[in-house]
């Protein structure tokens, strides 16, 4: 696209660019490397300030320890549950709404679009939402983590715009063949929309995986997701296990344990992210935020 320029100003520019880029790269990666190093170091090395970006002492005790906590496993299982079912419900509901909304010939189409946009401007506050969930008797049930978040308006609009851009001819051919919309949606529209559905599905999945605040206000301890578990270890609300370890060890051990929890609870995102990265970005470019 551009002609290669070999002047001094270009060389200076290159130095600046590559310095900034390498620094940003390190800034994004090093925090995770540091967490990994801490989680694999001995408590003594951590307290003696010896650990930076490489484990000192190679100690997997932190991982062995968190795997003995039943509440860690439970929290991790809870998060998997919320992510899988939350994403599933959200996708079904969003698709069911987006498809008819993409048909501008429907009566009341304008009113429905307005209904969506208005709800983006005037959201009910924290307290009305909380009182609603309690009034529906959802507090203390796992449904409180799933049902209230079934449709996100931004994801809905991404999908509506995608459906609108699909060629109408294929659908009309199916209609002439006598297929109803109940058949057309799963058989013809969805197979054509895998990229868009993967994108919003990922957004939903990340939301459910990372959610902790709704767990805090709606759930009982046994139903806590792993992020809330982590938050409770970090701020000391939850004391990890009443293990027999000497009291001098507990403070420093908790640092490597915390790091081990951080690593294990973020691992799915870090591992899956490079493979799914193109879908993550698609939502921003495919669905410009327009009603």
């Amino acid at each position: 696209m551009k002609v290669k320029d070999t002047s001094t100003s270009s060389k200076i520019m290159n130095v600046i660019i590559y310095t900034v880029m390498v620094l940003s790269l390190l800034a994004c990666l090093l925090p995770f490397v540091y967490m990994l190093a801490l989680s694999l170091s001995t408590p003594q090395a951590i307290i003696q300030r010896k650990v930076s970006f490489w484990p000192v002492g190679w100690d997997t005790q932190a991982y062995r320890q968190i795997f003995t906590y039943p509440n860690f496993f439970r929290a991790y299982g809870n998060t998997l549950f919320y992510t899988i079912f939350g994403t599933f419900i959200a996708l079904v509901m969003t698709i069911l709404f987006a498809y008819p909304l993409s048909k501008t010939c429907l009566r009341g189409h304008k009113a429905l679009t307005k209904m969506v946009v208005i709800s983006m401007y005037f959201a009910g506050g924290m307290i009305p939402n909380y009182l609603l969930v309690s009034a529906l008797n959802l507090t203390g049930t796992r449904l409180a983590m799933l049902i209230p978040f079934a449709i996100n308006q931004f994801n809905l609009i991404i999908l509506v715009n995608f459906f609108k851009a699909l060629p109408i001819e294929i659908e009309e051919a199916a209609l002439i063949d006598g297929l109803g919309y109940f058949r057309i949606l799963p058989r013809i529209i969805l197979p054509l929309s895998t990229a868009a559905i993967a994108t919003i599905g990922l957004y939903y999945a990340v939301f459910f995986w990372n959610d902790w605040f709704n767990g805090l206000i709606y759930l009982n301890t046994r139903q806590y997701p792993v992020m809330l578990f982590l938050r409770n270890i970090v701020n000391g609300t939850m004391v990890l296990g009443n293990s027999s370890s000497a009291s001098t060890d507990t403070a420093s051990l908790s640092i490597s344990v915390k790091s081990a929890v951080i690593i294990t609870s973020t691992l799915p995102i870090i591992i899956l992210y490079p493979f799914l990265q193109k879908y993550f970005v698609k939502g921003l470019t495919v669905g410009s935020i327009k009603g």
């Binding site: 696209m1 209904m115 609603l132 990340v206 921003l284």
Partner: protein
């Protein structure tokens, strides 16, 4: 085909239209019910700001009390402190983090190694998908006074440890810095898309005129993406008051509360922790209305400046 066109312009009677499209209307039932229950009932639930709430009775309160709760919080010093903190943090955050994605995108665009560019892009988007809890937990360990990397570095220079996460004067820098860490790469995508749409003839013309790469950035790249920058700025102004509530709640400690208590954390504390539902709803509604004005104002401004609204 013919019938479909008729339906579009609304000439067919409804019965015929319904006969053809009823399955689409059936699909709408669940989502519309969801919107009414989970988006609109809470919206009307804001009426609680003007009504007294009694536990176990209607979630819309039991009797009208007018502006009683508004008068209460307007006379409350905790509210004004939260209000000031919200404005200060929002403005600082906007001023310091807004230029970063632009700079990042412009520089990234100049990278000529395709593979390196791809790696930087992929890695820099990732923090956007990390949970706030994890971000704050990492920050807590990085800045820990007893074993954190930053304080280790300080101690090698003979400096004493600082409890960064607890000191009020470090709260705002840490909030803004972690936000920049999380969102710079992600927000840069929009600018990168805008830059990739620039006509390459403009660069060729600039080169013939003798502009070096540095001058090309200022005479071609930045002017070309100015409309995008304006739209993004307007969007940011519109959401000025919506700070990352969950992040602040995670960073909140009693000792930094003088700067970290914002409107949303006040609503949380007063409403959910102390169960003063009506009082908290009134505060939430007040900041919500300011937010709507900001969004609407920003949108109107965008329509005047760029001829196009955001919503």
């Amino acid at each position: 085909m013919r019938r479909k066109v008729d339906a579009a312009i609304g000439k067919t009677p409804f019965s015929k239209h319904f006969q053809r499209f009823w399955q689409l209307y059936v699909m709408l039932i669940l989502p519309v019910a969801y919107f009414i229950i989970f988006k609109y009932l809470p919206m009307f639930g804001n009426v609680l700001a003007f009504r007294r709430f009694r536990p176990g009775m209607s979630l819309y309160g039991t009797e009208w009390v007018g502006f009683r709760y508004f008068k209460m919080f307007l006379g409350d010093t905790a509210f004004w402190q939260a209000f000031r903190n919200t404005i200060t943090l929002s403005l600082l955050n906007l001023a310091l983090t807004f230029p970063l994605p632009i700079i990042f995108a412009v520089l990234l665009n100049e990278v000529q190694h395709w593979a390196f560019k791809k790696i930087v892009q992929t890695v820099s988007y990732m923090p956007r998908f990390i949970s706030t809890v994890v971000v704050i937990a990492i920050m807590g360990e990085l800045f820990s006074p007893s074993s954190g990397l930053i304080n280790n570095l300080r101690s090698t220079f003979g400096l004493g440890p600082i409890y960064f996460m607890n000191e009020p004067e470090y709260f705002r820098p840490l909030y803004i810095f972690s936000g920049a860490w999380q969102y710079t790469g992600w927000t840069a995508i929009i600018y990168l898309a805008s830059i990739s749409g620039i006509n390459s003839e403009l660069y060729e013309a600039a080169e013939i005129d003798g502009a070096n790469r540095f001058q090309q950035v200022f005479s071609v790249t930045l002017p070309s993406i100015l409309p995008t920058i304006m739209v993004m700025l307007i969007l940011e102004v519109g959401r000025l008051l919506s700070l990352g509530f969950e992040k602040i709640l995670l960073m909140y400690t009693p000792s930094n509360s003088a700067v970290s208590d914002i409107i949303d954390t006040l609503v949380y504390r007063v409403g959910l922790a102390n169960q003063n539902y009506s009082y908290a709803t009134a505060i939430g509604l007040f900041s919500g209305i300011i937010g709507v004005f900001l969004v609407a104002g920003a949108n109107a401004l965008s329509k005047r400046l760029t001829g196009d609204g955001i919503y």
